[in-house]
Amino acid sequence: MGDREIDQALVERAQRGDKRAFEMLVSKYQRKLARLLSRFIRDPAEIEDVSQEAFIKAYRALPSFRGDSAFYTWLYRIGINTAKNYLVAMGRRAPTSTEFDSEEAETFEDAEHLRDVNTPENEMMSRQIAETVNETLAQLPEELRTAITLREIEGMSYEDIANIMNCPIGTVRSRIFRAREAIAERLRPLLGTSKDKRW
């Protein structure tokens, strides 16, 4: 079951009235959507507001989502339209349709710009998170670091990683999980453990 199928499974649950399934999609895509919105909304508080609004609009529009496109492609369009409406309402220039093509949805990258739009507090926390992740990653055994890098940056399947690393798929599963868990162990104290705190 690939990434798109997992999203579809969550969407179908949400369409049957399961709000927590939709929250899993929010957890998954909030940063990607915020990154997209940061391209033309500078204020971090506004990005959060528009992100929230886009997710709520997406939830309300779930009955019209038929699965013909990937969930994120659909969310991307809703995000763009929400941002346009917001900017028009604020009397600011809205992006033209050619500035944000839905075909760009899957490949959109703009990390450099994002650093400029975090609030000072969030910017500091983002930096701490990034440092912790990078430090832990650097300290990981080579095979774990390679496995998670091939997965997270290159987006390779376990089978492809197993071929590259010349090891069984089960070993790849284990290495990627151990790498994630090692980083997560370092992040949990930093992020706190309160029940309502999610990232």
Binding site: A9, Y59, F65, N118, W199
Partner: protein, 170 residues
Amino acid sequence: MTREISELMDGELDAAEAEDIISRVKANQELERDWSLYHLIGDTIRQQAFYSPGLTAQVSGRLAAEPTVLAPRARPAREKYMRYALSAAASVAAVAVVAWIGIQGVTEAPAPQLALVQDPAAQARPASVPMPNRVNDYLLAHQEYSPSSVVHGVVPYVRTVSMTAEAGGR
């Protein structure tokens, strides 16, 4: 369980396993935090992190106030294609069956035949009825009263003779 979450987010579980893990994650806040945390790690590794600690909670709060969405289940594209494919296959199969039956009827199915039994006793034989000599005289005498016919010769007489012979038998 966190290992299964790791595999779920990488798309490495089959459908049944994925559905099971999704159900477990939804039912357990700690697992849901792990789901969020693993995604944060991935985004950070890709240098895409936008730290917004309260966003999911805020959206959840607003979702709680939203009327619950109940939508008809979306039909996956694969299922749609399968439906069309099955319809087409059924049509083709129906046409093939009809055509096959037609072809069989024309070329292969033997025409109904009656068993040919050579039964000497059952063979048709011309009736041989002994006639009295005076019948010939009678026929000649009444020739002009016999049924008219364009067929000349003895045929009209044969009929007459037969009828006469039958009548005479009674």
